[in-house]
Structures are given as structure tokens and as C-alpha cells.
Symmetry: C2
Subunit: 272 residues, 2 copies
């Protein structure tokens, strides 16, 4: 079954046509995993949302309100995914943000996807669509996602689960809807998110778990050569957790990797 | 009075919360001037929309349907502005575009803004927010407009009418909602729109008018130094037509310029 949809706390599937979320992509979102009735890593999601609100000068709703609405949307679903969208709300024509925006909160709950879509090793491709550089927006999970849409439109082979995206200057930054890690000589590396890409909650969870487990973990630029020379590679996001990459089409294949397996075990069933 | 709003041809102000226009900014728009009951430069707006549809692989509605809906939205308004938005419509969670999208058409009409907001010389500023580079999206009037929103949030001095935006690599590309032209030694120059910015309909109208009037007109990169050294500068968009820049705050001031005046007269009351 599909969960409820709430708009500003009321059961609804309708948003005003003049909402700035639609007009300009002027807003943020969080996609959160719900397991056994509990939103996983809620604090980290709220922290990123708050950082986004600060950078976009959006009023941040209270944590209590957000959790309450997410839980109401999930009623009847013990597990699944809940997406929380925050926009600057309706406004007159023009890019300038209203001085006192009436923000819009949208919550959409959905049942878990089939396990095959979220678990197990994946084949990925290198997308042609690149990520434009803008330090002011980097890291945020904002509503301007056309680059990701265009990247996902590049392939329709169902064996390819994800696409890795390069920045316009040629770094491997992330997948369309996941962060990427490589393991090189026992050392974990994930690309810096300083001018493009999303700083995923699961990326943070994995970095913390690695450090706690004594696995050297660094945030630095990753180039296609680094990816090719890595001993392991995996994707992360809040819904899939850690998912090994078994092949980057045309670049290389990997067998099952020990660091990936260790980290996957550490973050699975975690929470917070 | 405010004109009607139509969603998929029906009088409505509501869009589905799962519309990809809202979820990802997955769509395009055109903002068109209506004068004496007629949409100005409709053919050029339709051509740009069609180009956008081609690049985003969106089905293009028929020109007849678009004109019909815009005219219906404008009923009761002899002049004003009509905004046509086209999105990839509702869809399941995930960036991948549906194979057969049920596109959403939104039409919003509004009365003319006060003449002081659209006519006469303007003071502009140089924005700190820069435009990220992405050749795949450059030129299109798509719904990912957070950079423009952030740029407009930089100032609240009502004497400043617009903000010029630089690309991340330092070129003057356009204003938040207008294109920019400079005149240097009788030669008209507007920045190339190859990796960021919107290729405005009025920009095209002005380039054509200049060439017909024997004014040398070129599309090439413009740097802040070029702006500072220009003899005239002006903004263009479909609603304001040609609007002289009298000052770039902190950079320089200009007196009334002959080329700007000539071009303004050529495109005013034009149409097509």
C-alpha cells in the first residue's frame, strides 16, 4: 500500500500552482528510510535540512512538527520511505523571495521497494551529463534536479542500477541518487562535495562508522583513474545503505570486497 | 485584476504534489508579454520551448493548444503577462523520466506591472551568486532557478532593479531575469549563452533588429572589464523590451545612449 500524502499537515495531494517549489525549484527535500516504525538517522536528516534552510534563508519548521508529520504520513506502514519537501511557498511572480514566506511542507510516504532494487551488488555506468559547479548550492538536497533527471534518461538497460556523475571539470562526484566511495589499499575515500553534488546522510554515517572501526577514511577529489585503480567501490544513500558496485560499464569489475562488507554490516540495522 | 489560472486546460490553481515540476524542477516555462490582446513574439517563444522540449525529451504540446490556453487565461485582460509552464507531469519516486510522461500544462495570466517597474533606465548590481556551468541546460528556460532566487535575495534596496550574474569562471552572462547587451564603439555585443544563462526571446529580437538596422551585433564573451569600458549597456526581456542601464553599482554610470534608444524604439510596439 501507499502511504498518505500531507500538505501543510492536511491530507492532500495538491500544491498551489504558484508555489515557488514548482515555479523555481525553490526548496529542499529529505528522503528518509523508515524501519520498524522508526525514521532512521532523523537527526542527521534534520541537520542537513537545517543547513539548507540557513543557506537558502528558508524558515526551518520545528523538528517535532517534521517528525510528527512524517509519522502521520507513514501510518499503516511499518517500513518504507518518507520524503519530506520544504518549499518557500506561494508567491507573486519574480525570483525575489518574499520577505515573510509562507512555507509549504509536503510529506509523501511509500512502501518499501522490492529488495532487489535496494540490496546486492550493482552495475553502474558513467553518465555523459555532468554536474555544473556552484559552491553556493553544493551539498544541499534542493529541488533543482534537472541534471540528475537528464543523467537518468541516458540509459534504459534494467541491468544498470545507477549512473555515476562527473563534475564539469572531470571529477567523479556521486551517483544520480547516491554518494560513492572507493577503497584503495585499505583506505576509504569519498569525493569532496564542495562545488556540486549532495552530501548524503548515509555518506556521513559511513564516514563515522569507518573512523570508529579504525578504517582510515578521507574526503578528497576522486578522478576516473582513481576509480579504475580502486580495490572496492560502493554506493550509499539513506534507502539502500551501503551497496557494492560490481561493475562500472566499460571501466572495470570488482569482486566482493572486505571493507565494503564490513561497512555494510556496521550501518545496517543502525539508526539514530 | 488577475487573470485566470489553467492547469491542463481546466480552471484550477492546484498541481499534484508528485508532479515532477515540483519534485525536480523537471520542466520549462515561457513568460510572454500580451499587448492589445495579442501575445508578442509567440513564434519565438514557441521555438525556444520546442528546443527545450527536444533537449529534455519532453513531448511538445501543439502551438494551437498553447496559444488557445494562453488566450483563455488572459480573458478579460487586454494586456499583461502570461506565463506558460510545461512539466513532465506526475510520476513515481525517482529521477528517471517515465517512458510516457503525462505532461502538465500550467498557464498563469497577470495584469501589467506598474510602468515604473518595466520602463526607464535602471540601476543594477553585480551579484555575488554565480551561474554554474552546464552546456546541456544552457539557454533553456527550465524550472531549476535557485541560482536566480539566491541572487535576487542578495539585495533589498528598491533603487536597484536588477542584478547582473557572472558565470563561475567570471564572465558577465545575464541578469537574474534579463539578458544584457553592451555597446562598445558603435558595436553591439551580448554574451554567448553556451554553458549557462537563458537565451532570451527579446535578446534574439534585438539582435535581429540591430542587424536589420545596420548596427554591427555580435555574440561573444563579456567580462566585467568590457562592461566597465562600454559606452552603453542595456537589459532585455520579453516584458521590459529594452531597458537602459544607467548605473552598475560600484562599477560605472552611463548617460542616455543612442544605440540603446534606437533599438528600444525598433523593438517597442513590434511583435510577431
Amino acid at each position: 500500500m501507499t502511504g498518505r500524502r500531507l500538505v501543510n499537515g492536511l491530507e492532500s495531494s495538491a500544491v498551489a500552482a504558484d508555489d515557488r517549489g514548482l515555479q523555481y525549484g525553490d526548496g529542499l527535500f529529505e528522503t528518509m528510510l523508515v524501519g520498524e516504525g522508526r525514521i532512521r538517522h532523523l537527526e542527521l536528516h534534520l541537520a542537513r535540512l537545517e543547513e539548507g534552510c540557513r543557506k537558502l534563508a528558508l524558515p526551518m519548521p520545528s523538528a517535532v512538527l517534521i517528525r510528527d508529520e512524517c509519522e502521520r504520513a507513514m501510518e499503516g506502514l511499518r517500513s518504507g520511505v518518507v520524503k519530506f519537501i520544504l518549499t518557500r511557498g506561494p508567491g507573486p511572480r519574480g525570483y525575489r523571495p518574499p520577505a515573510e514566506p509562507a512555507i509549504t511542507r509536503i510529506v509523501m510516504a511509500s512502501a518499501p521497494r522490492p529488495r532487489s532494487e535496494t540490496h546486492g551488488p550493482v552495475t553502474v555506468r558513467l553518465c555523459r551529463t555532468r554536474l555544473g559547479l556552484n559552491p553556493a548550492l553544493a551539498g544541499l538536497k534542493h529541488l533543482n534536479r534537472l541534471e540528475q533527471v537528464m543523467a537518468c534518461a541516458e540509459w534504459d538497460d534494467p541491468r544498470i542500477a545507477e549512473g555515476l556523475m562527473l563534475s564539469t571539470d572531470g571529477r567523479v562526484v556521486c551517483a544520480t541518487a547516491a554518494n560513492v566511495f572507493v577503497v584503495t589499499e585499505g583506505r576509504l575515500v569519498t569525493p569532496a562535495i564542495r562545488d556540486c553534488g549532495v552530501a548524503g546522510v548515509m555518506r556521513e554515517v559511513v564516514l563515522r562508522a569507518a573512523r570508529q572501526a579504525g578504517i582510515p577514511a578521507e574526503v578528497q577529489d576522486v578522478y576516473p583513474d582513481d576509480l579504475e585503480q580502486a580495490q572496492e567501490a560502493f554506493l550509499t544513500n539513506a534507502v539502500i545503505g551501503v551497496r557494492p558496485i560490481e561493475e562500472v560499464v566499460g571501466l572495470r569489475r570488482w569482486a566482493d570486497g572486505e571493507v565494503t562488507r564490513t561497512l555494510s554490516a556496521l550501518v545496517t540495522g543502525g539508526g539514530g
